[in-house]
Amino acid sequence: MLRQRFQDLVRDRTAMAGAALLGLMIALAVLAPLLGGDPYRVDPTITLRPPSASHWFGTDEKGRDLWTMVVHGARTSLAIGAVTTALAVVTGYVLGVACGYFRWVDAVVMRVVDGLMSFPSIVLVISLVGVLGDGVATMITGLTVVLIPMVTRVVRGAALAVKAMPMVESTRSLGSRTSWVLLRYVAPEALSVTIVQAALAFSVTVLSVAALSFLGIGLPPDVPSWGTSLSAAQQYFYSAWWIGVFPGLAIVTTVLGLVLLGDGLRDVFDPRSARK
């Protein structure tokens, strides 16, 4: 069944376009040390140089090679994105399945989830980072806290839908244990929507990391990041357009890849809500 879905996914042109864009960015991130120079090397003699053969994307206001900054920025974004998404999706999945099946868990967890859900996530992350102090770990914590409710809610919905299906009544009437029902009935169905949520969560993370570092919150200022580069562009855009363009394109490419991949995943794994 999974294999069948995977084949459907490969045939889905939207999904494959997304996967290609995302794959490109992942390749850049992984190969960053080979592709670019040293992101921490500051050379005051070559500040704000336009794109050229030696500096493909030009240089920034501190004289760093922008291409190097963009590929290392990909490393930062995707690493934080991957860790956050993994944490949020695993936690959200477990919580969601539990909520969908056990009433008392649901009563407690959903109150908290509803509270966090209906709040602008970026504001909450900013505040949490503000309280916890800067740092990569803080940022991952803040983003995870914000994303867990999103995943939990959707997984819970799917779990509840499965629980109400006649097939669960059928297996229960055979005397199946709760663990069996969860493992063989609820969990696999809920997995489909979780896969779709993962793509969404990843894109939210990438955008949030960019926004936070653009605002100068969370990441230490010398860590290469697209948002940090773009915030410099506010001052230098007129004289050095490239600082404002290339990091932005990197963000758009990554998120577009995730959005397209997410759409494709939805079509394949969650056709009911895809039509909605």
Partner: protein, 258 residues
């Protein structure tokens, strides 16, 4: 004849209505009914009569708000959840909608092995052996053991449902509108199958249906329900030849005939 299912003044309420003016209405008011071994009781009624609710209470899938359900001398209300799980092998159900009541990710063999796994019966190879025997009994080809539910037709899926219910050799079988979604030609095969296996296995059967003709064909005793209450009960011939209640007569008049 031994009494297998004994419903004594059983009732169930449901809350219905808008969010705040929510009222509790009785889906089943108070029904008493007995089903003996080797006998089929047809439970007939229109939508909203409470017949499916009663069927679910009979095998402990719903617990009644009033009255007592006793199966093979065991009051269901006194069973702990753990005991109830084991006791389920005594009473089984065939569901109406076979396309939704079978896990789409399980092969026919998984589906037929599941009852044994649920009850922790037999060894792995014995289970597979029995699954194959069950497939034979309900007329499914052994070659199709590796197939998934959606690869079967509606009638074949209903056969799978029946085989699953039979696997644990229950004393009581509740069938909830098991043929109402099927075409006439397939319906005939499934109804015959129900008769055959009951004659072979001698379990007690509560057969829930809205179709008078189907009930007449399958039942020994007939119970007519309306608005949560039992309005008429008697042997098939009595109920169909000389109905005592005007409502039963209305149902008979409305049934299609050629």
């Amino acid at each position: 004849m031994t009494v297998v299912l004994d419903l004594d003044g059983v009732g169930k309420d449901f809350s219905a209505g808008p969010f705040f003016a929510r009222r509790r209405t009785a889906a089943v008011t108070s029904v008493s009914l007995r089903v003996h071994a080797g006998e089929t009781v047809g439970l007939v009624g229109e939508s909203g009569s409470g017949k499916s609710t009663l069927g679910r209470m009979a095998i402990g899938l719903l617990s009644p708000d009033r009255g007592r359900v006793t199966v093979q001398g065991q009051p269901l209300a006194s069973l702990t959840p753990g005991k109830m799980r084991t006791f389920r092998r005594t009473m089984q159900m065939v569901f109406q909608d076979s396309s939704n009541s079978l896990n789409p990710r399980m092969t026919l063999e998984d589906l037929l092995v599941e009852p044994f796994r649920a009850q922790g019966l037999h060894t792995r190879s014995q289970r597979r052996h029995r699954a194959a025997a069950l497939a034979d009994e309900v007329g499914l080809a052994r070659g199709s053991l590796v197939r998934l539910p959606h690869e079967f037709s509606g009638g074949q899926r209903q056969r799978i449902s029946i085989a699953r219910a039979l696997a644990l050799e229950p004393d009581l079988l509740v069938a909830d509108e098991p043929v109402s979604a099927l075409d006439v030609s397939v319906q005939a095969q499934i109804l015959n199958l129900f008769k055959d296996i009951q004659q072979a296995r001698k379990f007690a059967m509560l057969f829930v249906s809205h179709d008078m003709a189907v009930v007449e064909f399958i039942s020994d005793q007939v119970a007519v329900m309306r608005a949560g209450a039992l309005v008429e009960f008697g042997s098939r011939d009595d109920v169909f030849d000389s109905p005592q209640q005007p409502y039963t007569r209305t149902l008979l008049d409305a049934a299609p005939s050629l």
